[in-house]
């Protein structure tokens, strides 16, 4: 009996795996021929990264050598392009007129790397990362001393390419359109850690970067120009921005093709004799670019072709990154979604971040960084749809701990632990050491145990376990942790500890703080994010870039939101002074933009109420044109300096209070603070500027200036306390700035000066700013430094420079919809 003729187009991972699976089931059934476009045997394409990195050779990644084809009687047409398929006659036509008849045909033509249509994309030295020829080109480029590489694409492939090039000694830079690396697999936290890990390995990343053109000389690439004007020089440019199914042959042959070759669950195309597997197919609307689904498809196809019934149901995906020493795993809905809950674990000391997403009591996804050993376990739980309610408490600690405790409630499990069981990995503390310390020294709190045994004193990840040991030892005698309140539900650390850590550990970004301080949420909440943004801004002036999405709306759009969603605008009037020109400009703006209400504020300024958000930039432009800048009436920062008319006009005035107010305001405007700050200067003790209910107030007297702090006339009515008296205006300005800086550095977010003062005591402020003159000078110097970058009028930036233009107009306007009946 003659065998059926099976022809496979594609000698890659899918084509050969399909053949392997068929041979495994029925080695005698088919006479097999394979066409391959590359002039080489079947190799493991996903291992090209280690080949590029020099960690493996080509021979290491060959899956099936020539002997395999020979032993299985397979005819290999390597390096021979197939030009067409005649579905009617059931034959494959290749280059040179070769025709091969088939009974069954498998299309495994894989995918093509996507090339960005940038100017200069055809220059020599611009490559993709798809086959061994690409790898050879990259290796050749790395031979030049000091050679530089740019990789477009911060996905899996791009990062592996960049890492490989860096391993080859090149300076490699990854350019990525999105703000997170591997954003389809990783959340922001893991993306941040990955970026740091790559930097350690010599790979730089430029995020949020739009490529404009590839530039070159004499036909050879020399750099990549970005839309922001930068040009990144390079000797080789790798495009790794994605792949698309290679379905051209199928389409030309008349098979049904959408994004890929359309197949049913048996991997059958629109022609009953033609099947397709791998990256070229589209199954139930999905195209896959990872290896696991290909294996699933090949198994289903082999069943179908060997008397079984192929039933491919689609695949759930997981990813690992092949960069040596960087452990990354991601699967499923790693980012959560509707009805999902997150369990987040961070271990700052080890650089570990884990996030398991639970939906309906089952694992729906996971992302692991730094310790991905349990990735397979989470993936199995996810695929099997296992109910994890029972192990929810410990699931984040991984398989070993969870199964170690299974069936026991956590406290019983802890009680059952042997004394030799290690509890704290950082400090090598066993359970026995903790229990005996508790008993011998009468410890009752976590802090006591920490101090005596060092358990949970380092990274803190074992804190819950240590608490359980204490509870199991003492029963009701255990005193739960008391102390300063945590910043918010995302962390166990209070504001003060976070501020200290930012400075002590050189933390310069929000993900860095969240990792170091073991945040339990992926990206914080509406209460910690604005606080962190301020703390970072205060700690690293001129360096940290303000994150407007972590600011309340008033500060984000530099106007106050009102109850109806309109805004109010308050231009600055230095020390409460204005001019007829300014008043005319304000009146004109009110007319021009039909602003419904104009009101004098308590801080001696004019409030324009009811401005439409879309009008804000134009309103500001007009006010700017009249010489006015933002009054920061919305700011957690310096707002107004209220004054009386002082010695200039008043018969009781002892000093030029208006002049001092103007000097203070011109010197201090723009400074951000934990909460709003209002100043006032009164020319005599009659106190017409109401200095004694301001955050900082000055009362001018014959012999100089009394400096008052800690007043409020808001939720609480609070009179100021006298800090000290100084003789000159210069000294007053220096002292007030020093107090402001001390508050900026020590206050908790949203904590007004009077609350800050109640917390630390007037004596402390006195000691630091009045008694210790060196410290006052140092505080003043830091304030001055911070002001260097703070005094930027946000209105001008938005009115004339187009900063955040998108904020002020809709992204689109939809046409009137049809009215429903």
């Amino acid at each position: 009996m003659t065998k059926e003729k099976l022809v496979v187009i594609g000698n890659g991972m899918a084509g050969c795996r399909a053949v392997e699976e068929i041979l495994k089931r029925d080695p005698e059934r088919y006479e097999i021929a394979i066409f391959g476009a590359e002039p080489r045997v079947n190799y493991n394409r996903i291992m090209l990264s280690p080949v590029l990195a020099g960690e493996k050779t080509f021979d290491d990644i060959v899956i099936n050598d020539e002997a395999w084809y020979r032993d299985n009687g397979i005819t290999l047409h390597a390096g021979r392009w197939v030009t067409g398929v005649d579905l009617e006659a059931r034959k494959v036509i290749a280059e040179g007129g070769l025709e091969v008849a088939y009974d069954k045909l498998i299309l495994a033509t894989g995918s093509d790397p996507f090339r960005l249509p940038l100017p200069g994309a055809d220059l020599s030295g611009v490559v993709t990362f798809r086959d061994l020829d690409d790898v050879d080109a990259m290796i050749a480029a790395s031979a030049k001393p000091g050679a530089r590489a740019v990789v477009i694409g911060g996905g899996l492939l791009g990062l592996e390419a960049a890492y490989g090039l860096a391993r080859r000694g090149m300076a490699a830079t990854v350019v990525h359109l999105m703000d997170v690396l591997m954003e389809r697999q990783l959340d922001e936290s893991a993306g941040y850690l990955l970026r740091e890990a790559l930097l350690e390995r010599g790979v730089e990343t430029v995020l949020g970067a739009h490529s404009e053109a590839i530039v070159g000389e004499d036909g050879q690439v020399t750099g990549l120009k970005l839309k922001d004007g930068r040009t990144l020089p390079c000797d080789i440019l790798v495009m790794a921005v994605g792949i698309r199914p290679n379905a051209a042959l199928a389409k030309a042959s008349g098979l049904q093709v959408n994004r890929g070759v359309i197949v049913d669950d048996a991997m059958r195309t629109s022609d009953p004799a033609v099947f397709s597997v791998g990256e070229c197919v589209e199954h139930r609307g999905n195209c896959y670019g990872l290896v696991a689904p290909i294996w699933d498809m090949c198994r289903a196809l082999a069943e179908e072709l060997t008397d079984g019934e192929g039933a491919y149901q689609g695949s759930v995906l997981s990813t690992r990154l092949k960069v040596s020493g960087v452990d990354v795993f991601s699967a499923g809905k790693f980012a959560g979604g509707e009805g999902c809950e997150d369990i987040v674990f961070r271990d700052a000391a080890r650089g570990v971040y884990k996030r398991v997403v639970i939906e309906d009591g089952r694992v729906a996804g996971a992302v692991l960084f730094g310790d991905a050993a349990d990735g397979g376990w989470y993936f199995d739980l996810m695929k099997a749809g296992t109910d994890v309610a029972e192990i929810r408490d410990t699931i984040i600690f991984g398989q070993a701990i969870t199964e170690g405790l299974s069936g026991l409630d956590p406290s019983a499990a802890v009680a059952a632990m042997p004394d030799t069981q290690e509890i704290c990995g950082c400090n090598g503390v066993c359970k026995g050491a903790i229990t005996s310390a508790i008993t011998a020294q009468g410890l009752t709190t976590l802090d006591d145990v920490r101090a005596v045994t060092k358990a949970s004193a380092s990274c803190g990840s074992c804190t819950p376990l240590v608490e359980q040991v204490i509870r199991a030892t003492l029963g009701d005698g255990f005193k739960a942790q008391t102390g300063p309140k945590p910043m918010c539900k995302c962390t166990s650390h209070p504001h003060g500890a976070v501020r200290e850590a930012i400075l002590a550990q050189d933390l310069k970004s929000m993900p860095a703080v969240m990792q170091a301080m073991e945040w339990t949420t992926p990206d914080g909440c509406a209460s910690c994010r604005p606080a962190l943004n301020y703390y970072l801004l205060c700690a690293w002036p001129g360096e940290y870039v303000d994150d407007s999405q972590s600011r309340f709306i008033n500060e984000r759009v530099h106007a106050n939101i009102q109850k109806d969603g309109t805004y109010s605008v308050v231009p600055r009037m230095w020390g409460g002074m204005t001019t007829p020109d300014e008043l005319r400009a304000i009146a004109d703006v009110a007319d021009k933009y039909a602003i419904p209400a104009v009101k004098v504020t308590g801080g001696q300024r004019i409030d324009l109420l009811g401005v439409q958000k879309d009008d804000l930039p134009a309103v500001w432009a007009d006010l700017n044109a009249a010489g006015m800048v933002s009054g920061h009436a919305y700011a957690k920062g310096l707002r107004t300096v209220k004054t009386c008319v002082g010695s200039e006009w008043c018969r009781f005035g002892t000093q030029d209070s208006t002049g001092l107010g103007i000097k203070l305001e011109k010197f201090m405007w723009g400074s951000w603070a934990p909460a709003k700050v209002k100043l006032a200067v009164s020319g005599c003790p009659r106190n017409c500027a109401e200095s004694t209910c301001k955050d900082i107030g000055v009362i001018c007297v014959d012999s100089g200036y009394e400096i008052h702090v800690g007043g409020a006339a808001g939720l609480h009515i609070q009179g100021t306390q006298l800090l000290t008296k100084v003789a000159t205006e210069e000294e007053a300005i220096q002292l007030i700035s020093a107090v402001m800086q001390m508050y900026r550095e020590g206050g908790w977010y949203l904590e007004r000066i009077y609350k800050w003062m109640a917390r630390i005591g007037l004596e402390t402020i006195h000691a630091a700013t009045v008694e210790d003159l060196d410290n006052r000078a140092a505080l003043f110097a830091r304030f001055v430094k911070s002001q260097e970058t703070a005094q930027v009028d946000p209105w001008a930036e938005r009115a004339s420079k187009g900063v955040e233009a998108g904020e002020f107009k809709p992204m689109a306007t939809l046409p009137m919809g049809m009215a429903a009946e």
Binding site: D342, S548, N554, A812, A819
Partner: protein, 117 residues
């Protein structure tokens, strides 16, 4: 608290690129029915809600986006972006209509709410 329902135009409208929305932020889309707030979360997902808090109609597009929630700028209710329901202490007190949205090839496609007479 009245819960208003919306009819949805079955057609999908391209309202812009995903990258037009700031990460952990929002943009407004003007429609005949009033503004729709389109959100982009830190993990890159896109959601859309009628731009109105169920509490006192605060514009949710102006709030702070965190996780898959937005905190209303007026009185700090936290609204679940996926369901439009308030969370935490305000759970169960009304909801904001969800507007169907999807992302295709980096573009944001929105189903338009239509005026229901």
């Amino acid at each position: 608290m009245t819960i208003q329902t919306f009819d949805i135009d079955p057609a999908w409208h391209d309202v812009g690129a995903v990258t037009d929305i700031p990460e952990r932020g929002s943009r407004r889309v003007a429609t005949a029915q009033g503004d729709v707030a389109v959100f982009r979360t830190g993990d890159g997902r896109v959601f859309a809600l009628v731009d109105r808090c169920p509490h006192k109609h605060g514009p949710l597009s102006q709030g702070i986006v965190h996780g898959h929630g937005v905190t209303c700028p007026l009185h700090s209710w936290v609204i679940d972006l996926a369901t439009g329901h308030p969370t935490g202490a305000d759970a169960g007190k009304g909801c904001t209509p969800v507007v169907p949205v999807r992302v295709q090839d980096g573009r944001v496609l929105l189903a338009q709410p239509v005026v229901a007479d």
